[in-house]
């Protein structure tokens, strides 16, 4: 049994190395706060480690990790909502750390940050991290139709931004 646990730990280590970059990027874009995002990412992986035995489908580990990370993010938002009133789910604990970047890059960031958080999450998963709509629905804990709707609306908003950007 000790050998099995050693193998589990090695497997988990591989999981962390493979997905930490995307999980942290995902949480940073949801939180707009790098330090908070990394704390939530750490909490996500620790929770994943405790539940590692429950993961039966190794192929679904990426979606499973994102599901845990998103739930932890939502739990944090709910706690913060109880403390202070916020209109949307965007978290601005501290001023977001934005590196100086070309104009388009900054504007894309602003355009994405202007999207409602559920749309931003769906866009990131489906367009950037290679999730199918059904995988994203499972990761976000939302109905498939809702996720598709988020993606469509998010793309429409980004398309409008691009059109305005090109005209400017």
């Amino acid at each position: 049994m000790a050998k099995g646990l050693q193998g589990d730990k090695r497997l988990f280590e591989a999981l962390v190395h493979a997905h930490q970059g995307q999980i942290r990027a995902f949480l940073r874009r949801l939180c707009t706060n790098n330090a908070l995002a990394d704390d939530l990412a750490q909490e996500s992986f620790l929770r994943a480690y405790r539940k590692f035995d429950a993961l039966s489908d190794v192929g679904a580990q990426k979606a499973w990790l994102f599901q845990i990370a998103y739930r932890i993010f939502l739990d944090h938002v709910r706690k913060e909502t109880r403390r202070k009133t916020i209109d949307d789910a965007r978290l601005d604990m501290d001023a977001p750390i934005v590196e100086p970047a070309p104009a388009l890059k900054m504007d894309i960031e602003r355009a994405m940050n202007a999207l409602p958080q559920p749309q931003r999450a769906a866009i990131l998963l489906c367009l950037s991290y290679g999730f199918s709509h059904s995988e994203a629905a499972k990761a976000l804990g939302q109905p498939l139709g809702t996720v598709k709707s988020h993606v469509v609306r998010g793309k429409t908003a980004l398309r409008a931004f691009l059109t305005a950007y090109e005209r400017a």
Binding site: D8, Q20, Q22, R24, F26, L46, Y49, M112, I123, S132
Partner: protein, 126 residues
């Protein structure tokens, strides 16, 4: 990868910087150091209980052996069953010549063997 049309490819390129994975920079190492030890709690409990139980049983063994050595078995007179046309006299005298304690022990051993054999056949853990 679920990008299957030009439109999605444009958005993917547009968001490539925005969604870029974060460099590790020691994150994994710091996380792995924090992982709690996953000890096989169940086997420790079962093993510990087995050791304690075995020690208690061993402690009782001298008392048990003493009990059996002091045990005085009653003398049993076997009834004679006469079967016509079968001479049981030699069998009768042979049985009578065996001490009753030996007969009792043989009977107990036979029962124990039957019990163990049955459990082995049924696949029950003892």
């Amino acid at each position: 990868m679920m990008v299957d049309n030009t439109d999605d490819k444009i958005f993917q390129d547009l968001l490539s910087d925005y969604a870029q994975p974060i460099a590790d920079a020691g994150f994994s190492e710091a996380l792995l150091r924090q992982l709690p030890a996953r000890t096989p709690r169940k086997s420790y409990v079962v093993g510990g209980a087995a050791i304690v139980g075995g020690a208690l049983a061993l402690r009782q063994a001298p008392t048990l052996f003493g009990y059996f050595s002091d045990l005085k078995l009653p003398t049993i007179k076997m009834p004679v069953v006469s079967i016509p046309a079968v001479d049981t006299a030699p069998l009768h005298s042979a049985v009578q010549s065996v001490p009753s304690s030996v007969l009792m022990a043989a009977g107990f051993a036979a029962l124990l063997l039957l019990g163990l054999g049955g459990a082995a056949l049924l696949g029950e853990d003892i």
